[in-house]
């Protein structure tokens, strides 16, 4: 699971008002190279919840992102590469995503989150 995906995921358990962001429990992180696509990065910059990305990235062991970011930083190659690395190249291979409200853990195995709810959670 990449942080791009993590930034989109939200706990959809019945009754949960604040399911985002899910806390990350790390068991194993893997880095995988991804082609640099500047259009995609600029597009994603306007979508991501920046604080959640910074926190997630730090949890995964990459603390190079600035605490705050604004669109002018997109002119900086250095910033773009750090953003790219955090968003696309860090993978949670094994671990869990934790609902911030209920503490319910969604497992991540072989890089795949399983977000299916149990009968009593829908």
């Amino acid at each position: 699971m990449r942080l791009l995906t993590h930034n989109m995921l939200s706990s959809n358990i019945k009754g949960v008002a604040n399911g985002f962001p899910l806390k990350i429990e790390v068991v194993k992180v893997v880095e995988k190279e991804v082609d640099f696509n500047i259009d995609f990065l600029k597009n994603m910059f306007h979508k991501v919840e920046w604080k959640a990305l910074v926190e997630a990235s730090t949890t995964m062991g990459y603390a190079e992102l600035p605490e705050n970011a604004d669109a002018t930083m997109l002119d900086s190659d250095d910033f773009l590469h750090k953003f790219h690395h955090a968003l696309l190249e860090l993978h949670l291979e094994e671990g869990a995503l934790v609902c911030p409200q209920t503490g319910r853990k969604f497992p991540v195995q072989k890089g795949i989150p399983n977000m299916l709810l149990h009968e009593d959670e829908v």
């Binding site: 990449r2 995906t5 995921l9 995609f40 979508k47 072989k110």
Partner: protein
Amino acid sequence: MKEVGIDSASSLHTSESVGEAPVLRHVAVRPKCSSNVQSTPEIEKKYVHGVYDAIAPHFSSTRFAKWPKVSAFLSSLFPGSLILDAGCGNGKYLGLNPNCFFIGCDISAALINICSDRGHEVLVADVVNLPYRTGYGDAAISIAVLHHLSTENRRRKAVEELVRVVKKGGSVLIIVWAREQEDRSLIEKWTPLNQRYIEEWIGPGSPRVHNPSSPRILESIPEVEENGARERLKDRHANSSKVKLAEVMNSISLDEVSGASTVALASGLAKKDDKRGSVVYNRYYHVFSEGELERLVSDMDNAILVDRFYDKSNWCIILEKTS
């Protein structure tokens, strides 16, 4: 006395020959299980999820042909788009536009594992309840998925979810099997939901036999209301009774007997075809009639229909999110 015919509208029907007029009675049926639109009905657990999990490796290898209409849609999206594929199956559309990024989800962990092995970004999730923040995607696709949902409310909820997860101005492409089939030779693979499946099908959306003395007269019943109101079956004149073949089983045959199919055979999920030496599974489908997809979206106040077409025995719509 039952005939299966193909009428002039190229749709299947079953007709009862006129004999003794059956006595029709109102039967009030209270559904036994939760009518929550997000709870998975039994028929889907067994004849959709169970089947795809069992056939996943085979399904993956036979599904490489990409529909040109889907390719065209994906190619039309602006470079750098984030595309969400809900019900991505073996992932054949993931990555199809190399300038975009795809995130796929499917309810079958077995199929998602195959996508992941191919390097795609995927997760296990339910299209009826997507674990996604609102408005994050640029576009969404759901190809050959909604016809596996067994109630109108679930199908509508899935469409609402697809629209919810894209940004304002984002597009959604939905493709489903049509009741109006072009290739008549394929029709032999389809069987209407018959008595045996009716008994197994508990919960909202299931057709009910409302005439015990003539069990072959089946009818789709109206949706149960979410507040648990009782279903009521409409009165029908005997002569106009037809099987509503929107609810069908489609058989899929696999040549080899694998470990998964041995288990499936033992549990009754699959049958052996000794003549051909293959293993046969049945998948549940609700096939869509012309106009049905449009009706499903007609009440939506945050999306408009921008295109509709029929392609190779499938009904297709493209929606645009307006707010």
